[in-house]
Subunit: 433 residues, 2 copies
């Protein structure tokens, strides 16, 4: 079936190389691929369906480059605590009781939230990833998934985890009609020995997959790596050979200039988890310096346990205002640069920039429409400014992934919201004893 | 007419002294006053109207303690510029062309946005305040208004401005059925001479009104005051006698410990404009220290030209995460403390804590209801955490001010939104030449 659809009468923010904006624009797609972007064509007769965007903003779906979707049970369960107490007394004991069923419904809650707020692609690092992958397949979202591997416990346990991660990565790469791609993921240098990380990197090399790893989230972590290995985290990971694979780092809050040069040399990507890092009191990543070094920076929410939502529009505004404020430079990270971080930079960080991250002919039709019939978007000056500085994911009205509509009039079409709320409430009770 | 109404089946977040939360709660009001707060009563027969809150969250309307509502025309008109260029080339030339008609429709756009996002009381500092007051009267919101006085120009001009400010403050105090109260407002120490500020303070004393003034927003401003008057801003204002009147400061970003002690001694209130201060690269106010000194801190959006919206839920989350991040202390400013800043502290900062800022019997019925039938509010753990960390003003479903419903199902009942958008677009064209 090859239906030709066109959305007309919207302001199209392409986020292409020239940052083209078409103020009375149209975008057409067929078989999931974008076939036209530009002014509204005179003749629409060749299209099977014409959708009226009613002057709304149309932009690429946002890309959330770090998270743990099954952790949504823990949103608001414990806040404002010291990090260690939060982890050891609140997060870990409950997560230990997770079954695959918990993982599944936690992932659904997160996917529901992401689709509702205009995220069309997300990165997930957790375990029981088959459950997450199935939720991705079913819900119609796009994801880059990895079984995050923590190296504690026995040799057998480590071996079986690596096997599980490898099998998952192999089986699901290019799954769900191409909407799922995979990575290999040693959780971090403080939870995996260098030898174990090396094994994971070797497996990634065999499968020709990238690496996703937490790095330098807190000062404590950096000190621990230095104490144990006599090296700063970037040099430690470099020495193990991690960066020989394409690598996406989560956090990178505490990084020296020398380390940045290494990251730039290997084209390592950084997922900036700006809100989670503030809330957990980890600090603020030196994004100004990363950008000056040419490092690709994208945006991640981290899990809703430390955020506490997955509305990436919050990260979008935060990245455009926070660095201005702490650097005393109101020209730093413009609205346009922030929007690139949440879209095309996100795609580059997942090595998917050929297919997503901007609205261009030949790319896949991951499209969101923002309802601008609200006070936040008036007067109608600069659309990109309004999206970044005045907008909210709550204002997203419609979402298409690979040409298929998954959100309509602010309602997620592919997930039964009431059932998700019910299952999550029911299953949470089994976590808390 | 004395209709007795009761809202039932909601989670009531009172923000009273004990921070009581009633998870299956009810709130009743009559003649604009709250008559009952607690568990749902068994007998509802004495009420004329019973409103079902369907498990949603019910809390006091938020209080925005600093802004310039008529500036809404300039949202997204100029961003990411150096402060001086932004002011001198973009803001001031357009504001100079404002007529009373511009002021009116700009205020309506801001009030529309505030009501829609759960702010029931706002502070406004601008000129042509009669227009703003009429918009407040008509729209049903509550406000504390002042004609902000800039002391440039001739003696006659200064005299006429002071007269205008005084007349406005006198005429409108306790106007609009008590929903409007007023202040006197020298714009700042860098736009008014000490003599002129003194005259304004004298006028405030005669009318028994408080003072609202910008202070120490940027480092440049602090340096200028030191250069001109040989004193830090707090000492300068103290020497003029400003703090002999109840005073609400906007910004207070750059304040020394010695200055804080003076502010604490005089019980001066601080409106923390956390997002505007970041976006304009002014810096971050030392809220941790203010709180330790016992200074009352509330939240302000500043205008939508530097924010760029008036959704105070953004300030609510920001104040609870930013100070954690920069102080490396995840226990700093809990969700509950942040919510108090946006409600009861706001009321205290306007000397209105006897009538608004919390849901308590005898106070006025300024109530908002948040639609929790959305993924952000699940699982239903701590309501205050969800409101602060996961919520958005976009989720506000219903708003009552002084017992009158002004927002229903996310629609502002008292303002014609389409007309506001039309007038603002039309009038903006006359500003830009």
């Amino acid at each position: 079936m090859s239906e030709r659809k066109i959305i007309v009468n919207g302001t199209i923010i392409t986020v292409n190389e020239k940052n083209d904006v078409f103020s009375n624009g149209a975008i057409a797609f067929e078989n999931g691929d974008i076939t036209y972007v530009g002014e509204v064509p005179e003749d629409l007769s060749s299209y099977d369906e014409v959708i009226d965007a009613k002057g709304n903003y149309i932009l690429p779906g946002l890309i959330n480059t770090h998270g743990h979707s099954p952790m949504s049970y823990l949103r608001g369960y414990a806040d404002d605590l010291p990090l260690e107490q939060w982890l050891q007394e609140k997060m870990w004991p409950l997560e230990e009781r997770y079954t695959p069923e918990h993982t599944r419904w936690g992932a659904y809650l997160s996917i529901l939230e992401m689709l509702r707020t205009g995220t069309t692609t997300f990165v997930d690092m957790y375990d029981n990833l088959d459950e997450v992958a199935q939720a991705v397949e079913y819900s119609g979202i796009r994801a880059k998934l990895c079984r995050g591997v923590i190296g504690f416990g026995s040799d057998e346990l480590r071996k079986s985890k690596l096997e599980e991660a490898t099998n998952f990565a192999e089986n699901w790469n290019n799954g769900a009609d191409g909407r799922i791609t995979t990575m290999m993921s040693p959780h971090s240098a403080y939870t995996c020995t260098p030898e174990y990380i090396k094994q994971i990197v070797d497996a990634a090399e065999k499968l020709n997959l990238p690496i996703h790893i937490h790095m330098s989230e807190s000062k404590t972590e950096v000190e621990q790596i230095q104490r144990e290995y006599g090296k700063l985290p970037v040099k430690h990971l470099q020495s193990i050979g991690v960066f020989e694979r394409p690598t996406l780092l989560a956090h990178a809050v505490h990084v020296t200039e020398e380390e940045m040069d290494i990251l730039a040399k290997y084209d390592v990507k950084v997922s900036h988890n700006i809100i989670s890092n503030l809330k957990l009191a980890s600090g603020i990543a030196p994004i100004k310096d990363f950008l000056e070094k040419g490092i690709t920076v994208s945006l991640g929410t981290d899990s809703s346990a430390s955020n506490n939502n997955l509305d990436l529009f919050e990260e979008l505004k935060q990245v455009a205002i926070l660095h201005k404020g702490i650097q005393y430079d109101s020209t730093l990270i413009t609205a346009g640069e922030a929007l690139r971080m949440a879209t095309i930079n996100g795609a580059q960080s997942l090595w998917l920039e050929q297919s997503i991250g901007s609205l261009e002919v030949g790319k896949q039709a991951d499209i969101i429409i923002i309802d601008t019939n609200q006070p936040f978007y008036h007067p109608k000056h600069d659309a990109v400014s309004h999206i970044v500085y005045a907008g909210s994911g709550r204002d997203v009205n419609d979402v298409f992934v690979k040409g298929k509509q998954v959100v309509k009039n602010k309602e997620v079409l592919t997930i039964d919201q009431e059932k998700v709320f019910y299952e999550v409430a029911r299953l949470f009770k089994t976590l808390e004893k």
